[in-house]
């Protein structure tokens, strides 16, 4: 981030920052995730807006000190409304050489770099594949480097604590956290209280960690190693109660909420897969909410069990990632033909095939829309931020039960693991999803495929209902009776009805809202997890005086009714996607407009910077001075 008030030395170093990005990096064993989370929570309590992103190693536990073993956690805090964890860290804490090597490249020029000097020994340098000590060959020039003997200082601080050195060393992350707290003028209490809760049964660990934390703080206070401290004021957040939440947790909560608001018991059929597994883990902990989680033998059984549960009258869910969708597509198609409600959550990862399981991507859109044999339309919704996963889950369930159809919720690895403050809604403020099962036959007898004239949904007559015994299946159905039919006209009619049923959901979704002028030169259109980066980039562009509008699609099928009109209102529509242009293809076909794709397929979220450049490339210069860009 490069907004006016930051720690640019050029501008006289101000005590007050509007926005700062900090990355904690160390070995998997160094507890960086935990350290980052503590800083996040403390800052949240302080009132900053924030956004975080963990970066786990692909390996479970790579050997200590090696490059693949590095684990990092990035947090951005600000005194205003932000949308991403930031492109480039202003502060990097590197607990060992490997952490330095893998993260230095991202650190902002002139950024603060805190190193654990004790770790820069031959062996660790070798593990990090450093020929020579990076501290000696000038590769750290241009950064503000602070070398601290974290290990030694921590051991000293814990001299009196009755622990062996291995256990003492485990506290050095708290020493580092203490330092960061000092630099950013944070209180220690929230973390100390948390330590007391966490180690309630092990007082010695409470003491050790607390001492290390204070020691880190005091170290800065006494040595004055840092000439200056920084303040990031609280942000102007909408009043309310907040909690910091990641996408998969929000998704799980949203599904439980939908279950409660619909009165239908929740059933999840799932098979573990990165990055979707944590939804299963979370829901497995909500049994007291009458949630049934079923870890199936594979994805096929997972979706099929969900279809069986839907037939029985449950709110049926299945969660997976792209490779699992491939396996579920036949089962999803059965739900399309039998017109049963089902929510299929695809937490996308980088493909094709096994691809890069721990990396994010938006490249399963066409798969979920078209990856089934025959004409098989389904609604698709994509959450736009971690907290939005909660609302998107409820909306997916709403569409499923309203139209009696499988619905795909398209999240991704970035939303799944990224977190942001979530303003907590009250239960009764959530949509009412109550459903009525078909209870008895109409006067002209019971017709399983008789439809609601408005939604075109067939009735949901669950087994156990006296007098409504009927058979469904994957063969084409005769209109109304639902009997097997090979009649040509019936097949054409049913094909049209299945499509129309999904289209009609458009009557129940909000029109696409435009942020900025409703018409003009450039519209930046996004979908899914790119909201944060796009919003950030658009705001930066506006700060540079560029006039650009922004809109974000949550419903990808059916599309909002006013979409065509919105798109036609602009000379250029720029569509950034973490794929090679999948949504663009759909919109080009539908509206015959020359949508401009901005594609990045690197297994990582967009950076505001790259989208900003793209915006400038598509807009008239404000003043020739504004940027060196050639506006090609």
């Amino acid at each position: 981030m490069t907004s006016p008030a930051t720690l640019e030395p050029s501008v006289t170093a101000s005590e007050r920052l509007s926005d700062v990005v900090i990355r904690f990096a160390g070995d998997s064993g160094d507890g960086m995730q935990l350290t980052g989370t503590q800083f996040t929570n403390t800052s949240a309590l302080f009132g900053n807006d924030l956004s975080t992103l963990p970066d786990f190693p692909a390996e479970i536990r790579a050997p200590a000190g090696t490059l693949p073993g590095v684990s990092a956690f990035q947090v951005r805090i600000a005194d205003y409304d932000i949308h991403t964890p930031g492109d480039t860290p202003d502060v990097l804490v590197a607990m060992n050489p490997a952490a330095l090597k893998t993260n230095l490249g991202d650190l902002r020029r002139d950024g603060i770099l805190i190193l654990n000097a004790d770790e820069f020994k031959k062996t660790s340098l070798k593990k990090a594949k450093y020929e020579i000590d990076p501290r000696t060959d000038g590769s750290l020039e241009g950064y503000r480097v602070f070398e601290v003997d974290l290990t030694r200082l921590t051991r000293e601080a814990l001299a009196e604590v009755d622990l062996d050195n291995r256990s003492r060393d485990r506290c050095k992350n708290m020493f580092a956290l203490g330092m960061i707290y000092w630099i950013f003028s944070r209180q220690l209490e929230p973390t100390i209280e948390w330590l007391q809760r966490k180690f309630a049964k092990k007082p010695v660990l409470v003491e050790a960690n607390t001492r290390a934390l204070r020691a880190g703080w005091n170290y800065c206070d006494i040595t004055g190693a840092f000439q200056v401290r920084y303040e990031v004021e609280p942000a102007e957040l909408v009043p309310g109660t907040y909690r910091n939440i990641n996408g998969n947790s929000a998704l799980a909560l949203g599904l439980v909420a939908a279950s409660r608001r619909s009165g239908l018991p929740l059933f999840l059929g799932s098979y573990p897969i990165t990055p979707a597994s944590t939804v299963l883990h979370e829901l497995a902990r909500y049994k007291q909410y009458n949630v049934t989680t079923f870890q199936a033998e594979d994805e096929i059984a997972a979706v099929c069990a969900a279809v069986g549960a839907a037939f029985g009258g449950s709110l049926a869910i299945t969660t997976t990632s792209g490779p699992g969708i491939a396996l579920k597509s036949e089962g999803m198609n059965l739900a399309v033909m039998t017109e049963l409600p089902l929510v299929v959550c695809n937490i996308q990862r980088a493909g094709p095939s096994t691809g890069m399981p721990t990396k994010t991507e938006q490249s399963d859109l066409l798969q979920v829309l078209y990856g089934r044999n025959g004409e098989s339309p389904v609604p698709v919704i994509a959450p736009a931020s971690p907290a939005d996963c909660f609302d998107a889950a409820i909306e997916a369930c709403r569409m499923a039960v309203r139209a009696m159809t499988p619905v795909v919720l398209l999240s991704d690895g970035y939303l799944a693991n990224g977190s942001e403050p979530w303003r907590l809604p009250s239960a009764e403020s959530l949509p009412d999803l109550r459903v009525d099962f078909t209870a008895e036959a109409g006067e002209d007898g019971f017709l399983p495929y008789r439809r609601d004239p408005e939604s075109l949904a067939r009735g949901w007559a669950v087994p156990g209902t006296p007098g409504l015994e009927h058979r469904i299946g994957g063969l084409e159905k005769a209109e109304n009776t639902g009997n097997v039919s090979y009649d040509p006209d019936n097949h054409e009619r049913m094909t049209a009805i299945r499509a129309e049923k999904i289209e009609r959901l458009a009557d129940t979704i909000p029109p696409l809202a435009v942020d900025g002028e409703p018409t003009g030169e450039l519209l930046v259109l996004g979908w899914g997890s790119t909201l944060g980066a796009i919003t950030g980039a658009v705001n930066l562009a506006r700060q540079q005086g560029v006039s650009v509008s922004r809109a974000h699609l949550r419903h990808l099928s059916p599309l909002p009714k006013n979409l065509g009109e919105v798109l036609r209102g602009f000379d250029t529509v720029l569509l950034p996607e973490i794929n090679t242009g999948q949504l663009a293809m759909i919109l080009r076909a539908r509206f015959l407009l020359d949508i401009q794709t901005f594609s990045r397929v690197q297994g990582r979220p967009f950076r505001r910077g790259e989208i900003l450049d793209e915006i400038l490339r598509h807009t008239r210069p404000v003043t020739l001075a504004a940027t060196g860009d050639t506006h090609g």
Binding site: Q288, A301, E330, N483
Partner: protein, 338 residues
Amino acid sequence: MADAATLTRKDFQSDQDVRWCPGCGDYAILTAVQKLFPGLGLPKEKLVVVSGIGCSSRFPYYMDTYGFHTIHGRAPAIATGLKVTRPDLEVWVVTGDGDALSIGGNHLIHTLRRNVGVKILLFNNRIYGLTKGQYSPTSEVGKRTSSTPVGSIDPPFDPLSLALGAGASFVARSVDVFMPHLTATLERAARHQGTAFVEIYQNCNIFNDKAFAYMTDKANRDAQTVQLRHGEPVVFGGAAQRFGLRLEGFSLRAVPLDGEPGDDILVWDETDPALAALMARCGPPELPTPIGVLHAVERPVFESSVVAQIQHEIEHKGEGSLDDLIHGGDTWTVAESR
């Protein structure tokens, strides 16, 4: 809707005309089930028949209960989702040797392992009927079919051995044309808690006619089949000559009987899985084909444990409130006035 007590076979016949080939063994099995269901003392609406794809899997259309004709091989998985969420329903799965053992093999063994409370009727005609006669995983080696014009080379599964290897709690076998035995066997299955697996030899008179004639023909029946009855000696044969099965070391031998079987003759114990595994391997040419209940033990039923865990959590944590759930974890409040 007639109440459970007064139900008759007719009540379970749907309005759809049956579309199997004339002479197909499936008709007899349909009759057996339609005769059995009224006796279960359950209202019609509590019965659900779930099938995969195949000739046999058209079964649900002909039963006037709730029914689901699903996709190929997946019936056990779909039935599991239904039964786990609706333990109040009686769920019967109808499947074929291709549906259950070829594409559906994994779901079958996992359903048996979990001991989900569903009945699984495997119509074994040792052929793919619906797709016009390719060999199946139960076809004998050397079978010439459209897909194996010079004969198949892979040895068949024995469905009973596979089920036992997967840890099934109820394993039985019967035959389409042995109506009383079939009905009795289905009756036992109906009463079993947990997964009841019943293999039913079924004649496909179009693509694999007389596959089981060696044991179904009146002439050979007595000599070629042995009925297992828990607690009774394992004997077979006709009026002319009766035999008993004797355990010699670890293999079975048929010994002629004169008069009552002596105590060298094996007494059937359906609760011993290893014994069942041995008996599952008993059959032609040397030995008769065992029919009846090979194995039956009660062990925890999957959906009951699922429900128990949920109940337990509710009792100990209390019916969760949605607001509590949403407000869980570390929260902070941004006040109105700033």
